[in-house]
Symmetry: C2
Subunit: 171 residues, 2 copies
């Protein structure tokens, strides 16, 4: 599986404008991380973590390449960001990811004390920040996060759907 070439990727990297560092700007960076996953024949999901307008951690899905089911875009971005700041607490940061976080990643986000999550695309099957469950609303949880949904939704949805369609056509 790992050594198979990925299906040809019809998407170009986005070129985020430096003029306006808004949610769409950072989601474009997350999208570009997802393209790296595609290039390694992984489900194309990407994430970045931002503190005061600066990206302090990046990650993309590497489950197959690392042979590790915990190597999701969000967990890798969280670990990278904690190494950047030298603290496991990511207070004051926002995490951008191209799909709603799964149960594991939603939990990792709560533990890392990220303040805010922006995701492109709700996942009614496995999403745990409102899609299939709402882990951030557990009554006794000791950290609250804000969630924004739908930034660059069409682009991130097309990316994931195309990957699966082209993989099936391949096989």
């Amino acid at each position: 599986m790992k050594s198979e070439p990925p299906p040809p990727c019809p998407f170009e990297p986005m070129r985020p404008s430096e003029l306006v560092r808004d949610d769409a700007y950072f989601m474009q960076h997350a999208f570009n991380q997802a393209l790296k996953a595609w290039a390694e024949n992984e489900v194309p999901i990407g994430a970045v973590i931002v503190h005061e307008g600066v990206i302090i951690g990046r990650g993309y899905n590497r489950v197959e390449g690392l042979n590790d089911p915990t190597a999701h875009a969000e967990t890798l971005a969280i670990t990278a960001a904690t190494q950047t700041v030298g603290d496991w607490r990511l207070t004051g940061t926002t995490l951008y990811v191209t799909k709603e976080p799964c149960p594991m990643c939603s939990g990792a986000i709560l533990l890392s004390r990220v303040d805010r999550v922006v995701h492109a695309l709700a996942d009614p099957k496995m999403g745990c920040l409102g899609g299939a469950a709402s882990l951030h609303e557990l009554p006794r949880i000791n950290h609250r996060i804000a969630v924004t949904v739908g930034v660059l939704e069409a682009e991130c949805k097309a990316l994931i759907q195309s990957y699966f369609q082209l993989k099936r056509a391949d096989g």
Copy 2:
């Protein structure tokens, strides 16, 4: 915080009898992993993963030492086990852990396709295999796991409670 010495640990390592490799036997190994966390001044939680009677992955809480909020006993044991078997799928394995898994670890367990989880102690605040939520019962999840609760409960509860009591007495 990291460089502080831990409070003196009043617990001895357990000596699991090799004669009966039952749930209590493997939980004793998980307990001994938790003692390693205590020795590094981390909340004492330990885990082992077992395949056909053999321990293929071990882990203990290392959040402070690694400065990584994702470095829980369970995630580290999962990553270790996947490296042992060379596959991110841990089908046919049982995970033993001294406390009910948090949201992140419950999600990691589902993703890794562990068959069964045995934990010592329910966590009504953050546990996500029945305590505060039941992620393994999400209707559209694509993997089912069996859960056993309460193996070595008194010992594992005493370990965690003593750690917090002695830390408070210290500070």
